[in-house]
Amino acid sequence: MNTPWTPPYLPQGTVYGTLLNFRREHALWAPRMSEAPYQAPPQAPVLYIKTANTFTPSGHAIPLPHQLAEVEVSASLGLVAGEGGRVAGAVLFNDVAVPHESYYRPPVKFRCVDGFLGVGRDLLPFDALGGFAGLARLSLELRVHGVLKQTVSLADLVRDAATLWADVNAFQTLRSGDVLMLGTDCLSDGTRPRAHAGEAVEITAVGFHPLVNHFTEELA
């Protein structure tokens, strides 16, 4: 109760997202991975960047662009880099996207829309989470308007957090403040939960403040 107030966390570096890093989605995609245009299953981690214009603090609204009825919402855990290649801590994210079927071309217009990254209030120290081993025991829950839509277990990663961290740092050093999101899971039919204007999306995990963002219609 006597925890001193700290300012809400906002990413200080580049935020990377990871595609196809949950076993369920990877398995659903596997039969198509060797077909055109992909030709082969991905070898390196498939990454994308969430640009700074997407950052929306918890409690703030995310506007839906005109003519977009719904968006995908996804619970993700982001590892925040500290000095010397270490993980400093972790943050909850709501990784929002325009639904897209193809993973062939970079998803800038689907993922870098203004406001499309809900950012959890607090950065929890990595030690407090029990390090990489502790992460694997963590579950994230996603609710739309109070209704539980998805439970994401970090035990279900294709590359576990330690492996992903190492594989990404092998070609691009994550600098202090950079964030690596571990990925987002799909539902059993391969889709992701959707949000519409007027709905609130809440993402929770034990130990973290809930991340809440309301979706609104974009002002003209």
Binding site: Q12, V46, T51, Y104, V108, D114
Partner: protein
């Protein structure tokens, strides 16, 4: 005016070009001039409060699209890079061991000057602070067809030299009429002109600002023309754009310990 950001005498300084020298803007050294080879050149970009957005274009010159055996795209083929891949003029870029095809890409880089949201093409150039040269290296061995071009190809440490100058937009009346060229060890290997861009600078600003707010200091790397060749450790690669600058970079081998290339 041509602006640079340099390290000299134990600190970082803003400077401008003056008669073939760098004139420091730092209050303690106002008016002092130093030679180009006395300094370490940093990316010519002022620090900003939030993570910098670095947008880049693939296949934005018709001839390069043809060279890579693709038809010209119907909308910009855009991707995003992390700021950590940027390095300055006269720096070293690492060629990983065992790769077969690593090539430069000489590109006009646009630096945004004021917040841009839903900007019309006709007004777009008013949002540009200036221009610089970027060399957007690619290592084709790592290409995969997942969010292609994927980050392992395009977002590597040391693989985006940029500079030497940020040239004020006012000094570049027509960004679509600039000759580009690259030399490797003095031999011309790439030549083009920004007039051959498929999506010109105003079109790109209109396109991106339709869904994202561009902020001061954000970058758009506008793609490269025909003529990319493999580069080996020791190669000196100079990417040059008329009126903007001549950006020198040296390829070095991946290794641990001392660097045999760093002594030239």
């Amino acid at each position: 005016m041509k602006h640079a950001r340099i390290a000299w005498a134990g600190a970082v300084h803003d400077a401008i070009e003056a008669d073939g020298q760098l004139e420091l803007l730092t209050p303690a050294f106002t008016g002092r001039r130093v030679a180009f080879d006395e300094v370490v050149w940093l990316p010519p970009l002022a620090p900003i409060a939030r993570p910098r957005t670095v947008l880049a274009l693939g296949l934005n010159y018709a001839d390069h699209a043809k060279e890579l055996a693709f038809k010209a795209p119907e909308e910009p083929l855009a991707f995003v890079k992390g700021e950590a891949s940027l390095i300055g003029h006269r720096a070293f870029t690492v060629r990983p061991e065992g790769v077969r095809f690593m090539h430069y890409e000489c590109e006009l880089a646009v630096v945004i000057g004021q917040p841009a949201k839903r900007v019309k093409k006709a007004d777009a150039l008013q949002y540009v602070a200036g221009y610089t040269v970027a060399n957007d290296y690619a290592i084709r061995d790592y290409l995969e067809n997942w969010y292609r071009p994927n980050l392992k190809v395009k977002n590597r440490d040391t693989c985006t030299p940029i500079g030497p100058w940020l040239v004020d937009a006012a000094d570049v009346p027509d960004p679509q009429a600039l000759a580009l060229r690259t030399t490797v060890n003095g031999q011309i290997t790439q030549q083009g002109n920004t007039k051959d861009m498929i999506f010109d600078v105003p079109t790109l600003i209109e396109y991106f600002s339709r869904f994202m707010t561009l902020m001061p200091g954000d970058l758009i790397l506008t793609g490269t023309p025909d003529g990319v060749v493999d580069c080996q450790p020791g190669d000196v690669v100079v990417t040059e754009i008329e009126g903007i600058g001549s950006l020198t970079n040296t390829i070095t081998a991946e290794q641990k310990g001392s660097d045999p290339d760093s002594g030239q």
